[in-house]
């Protein structure tokens, strides 16, 4: 098998990469540019709302560079998890930007896009057949939960992307994809060892996070018969055995055995060798094909609407009684609204605002506290009403030993309450069995023709 070279411009499309690094990477003559554009890491909001993760400006700027260099070199461009969550509206948004850039640059090519949305009826059918299981959510997926689910995607494997490439696509905009698979699809479609290609994808998907110094930047992988090589695009970075091996840990629990769509990766026999100052050689990665094809589902439900209020506390007598005061104010709100239909919480920065229950330091040593009053209720008006009532009550709360009777909290803003809109939460993080790797992921082709200028 010939050598296949993959260039990954950055860890998440829209977060940037260096021009010098892209030039450096392109000098290694890649056969494909492949990049991941999303994950669940920014939280459930983007899947729920359909709002893209990055700005249109950033996406257009970066896609413009990648389309220009990939078309000039005559190599395909693959984008996985388009738009952030990889749901239909995120794919459509990305495709529309691609069309616009093609018009502006006078580019002609075959475009493919792949949706990853899952009808809830499909999951209900799988539930009734016992073909759904929990991944790590800690709760069972039920029909009721599916009825509440407002957006649901599945992580595709490399197969739908390889199918689009085999169909002649020059540019593939894929919906939600397993990060590694989106990067590995091209080499696997061209006959690379799937174990090496998938492990290379696993490392490349974060761009130059596997280099030192690490950063959102260009990384290049070269897969051969029995090993692959990694080298950063920028001359100011290098790949080292430690930087690459350590990256195998990042954002995943088990560094040795990692399940993916229709397979699992066994990395127990991997070897990492420094072959030159900036290059690392990896071998021994094994791809174990599963008997059954399971994909990961990601779903969200709308839990209500959020209003918050931000307030500062500087008075030492108030800080000394903060737990008691917040407890009182919370109980009073429950009585006042005579409802259990809202959630009310206090985040206290300077106490345990960052770590919550995991905070080992229980005594407050700060001279000031930052407070976020957090309310989620069935509608925005109610959430706002609760937040306003609570912040007002706290402002004028009376407690023993109080010197200052004019107000207990410093609001940095007017209005003191901020309506944060709909609140989404994960409702599915489960595995579902498919009849084929392509079943859920329809591929669309379009020939884009513009006058070259």
């Amino acid at each position: 098998m010939a050598t296949i070279t993959v260039l990954t411009p950055t860890g998440t499309l829209g977060y940037g990469f260096g021009a010098e690094a892209l030039e450096g990477g392109m000098r290694l003559k890649p056969d494909v540019i492949a990049v991941d554009a999303g994950s669940t890491d920014p939280g459930p909001h983007y899947l729920g709302s359909g709002e893209p993760l990055v700005s249109r400006f950033s996406m257009k700027r970066e896609l413009s560079d990648l389309l220009r260099v990939s078309r000039k070199a005559g190599i395909p461009l693959v984008v996985g998890s388009a738009g952030g969550s990889g749901c239909r509206s995120h794919v459509d948004w990305t495709v529309e930007i691609v069309r616009e850039i093609a018009r502006e640059q006078g580019l002609s090519f075959k475009l493919a896009w792949i949706y990853a949305d899952v009808p809830t009826e499909r999951v209900k059918a799988a539930l009734s057949r016992g073909e759904v299981k929990d991944f790590e959510a800690g709760f069972a997926l039920t029909e009721e939960m599916l009825d509440e689910t407002v957006a649901l995607v599945a992580q595709m494997g490399h197969e739908p992307i390889a199918e689009a490439l085999d169909g002649g696509a020059d540019v593939v905009i894929a919906g939600r994809s397993c990060d590694d698979s989106a990067i590995a699809a091209f080499p696997i479609a061209r006959g690379a060892d799937p174990g090496l290609a998938m492990h290379m994808g696993k490392i490349l998907e974060c761009g130059a996070f596997s280099a030192e110094p690490f950063g959102m930047d260009v990384m290049v992988g070269i897969v051969r018969d029995d090993h692959f090589l990694l080298e950063p695009g920028s001359a100011g970075r290098r790949a080292s055995v430690t930087s690459v091996a350590a990256h195998t840990l990042y954002e995943r629990e088990d560094p040795f055995l990692q399940p993916g769509p229709g397979h699992s990766m066994d990395l127990t026999q991997c070897r990492f060798d420094q072959v030159s100052d900036r290059r690392v050689r990896v071998s021994g990665s094994r791809f174990i094909k599963s008997d059954e094809y399971w994909v990961k589902l990601e779903g969200v439900r709308r839990a209500g609407f959020r209003s918050i209020s931000i307030a500062g506390i500087r008075c030492p007598t108030m800080i000394a009684r903060i737990d008691e005061i917040l407890g009182d104010v919370q109980n009073e709100a429950l009585r006042y609204f005579a409802s259990n239909e809202f959630e009310l919480g206090f985040r206290v920065y300077g106490r345990d605002g960052v770590m919550g229950k995991l905070e080992p330091q229980r005594t407050i040593t700060s001279h000031e506290l930052g407070l976020v009053i957090d309310v989620v209720a069935p509608n925005q008006e109610f959430a706002h009403a609760v937040a306003h009532h609570v912040s007002g009550n706290l402002l004028h709360y009376h407690f023993p030993g109080q010197f200052n009777t004019s107000g207990n909290v410093a609001f940095p803003y007017s209005p003191s309450e901020i309506d944060a809109g709909p609140n989404y939460r994960f409702s599915a993080y489960h595995l579902m069995r498919l009849s084929s790797p392509l079943e859920l992921f329809p591929i669309h082709f379009e020939t884009i023709q513009n006058v070259h200028h």
């Binding site: 669940t40 954002e251 560094p255 991997c270 959630e343 770590m355």
Partner: protein
């Protein structure tokens, strides 16, 4: 605490926390050199028990611990006390939960 007592930050050059999916919080401890890695590994300062104690969680909330000589790394994973983005979650990316590890005492093996 004796003046000679060392802490994890004296051995490791990266101590980080991060989500591994919406329901896991994973900690990576990467060491400067083999000697530092071996000293901490052999000290048994990082065990499922010590991590549960440090973060005040029941032992069964520590879902795994891996020692990885090739990466000069030790990796520990907790079940997230609150799912990512669920009500009360305070750290969407899970990237600011590492601080207590910096000062975890390390008593080299044989010196205890």
């Amino acid at each position: 605490m004796s003046t000679t007592e060392k802490r994890l930050r004296d051995f490791a050059h990266i101590i980080r926390s991060k989500n591994a999916g919406p329901y896991r919080l994973t900690f990576d401890i990467l060491f400067k050199d083999d000697a530092s890695f071996e000293a901490v590994r052999d000290s048994r300062a990082i065990t499922k028990e010590s991590i549960a104690r440090l973060y005040g969680v029941p032992l069964d909330q520590v879902s795994s611990l891996f020692v990885m000589p090739m990466g000069r790394a030790i990796k520990v994973t907790l079940r997230r006390p609150i799912g990512q983005g669920d009500f009360g979650d305070s750290d969407i990316y899970g990237c600011q939960q590492h601080a207590p590890l910096l000062d975890l005492p390390v008593v080299p093996a044989g010196k205890a």
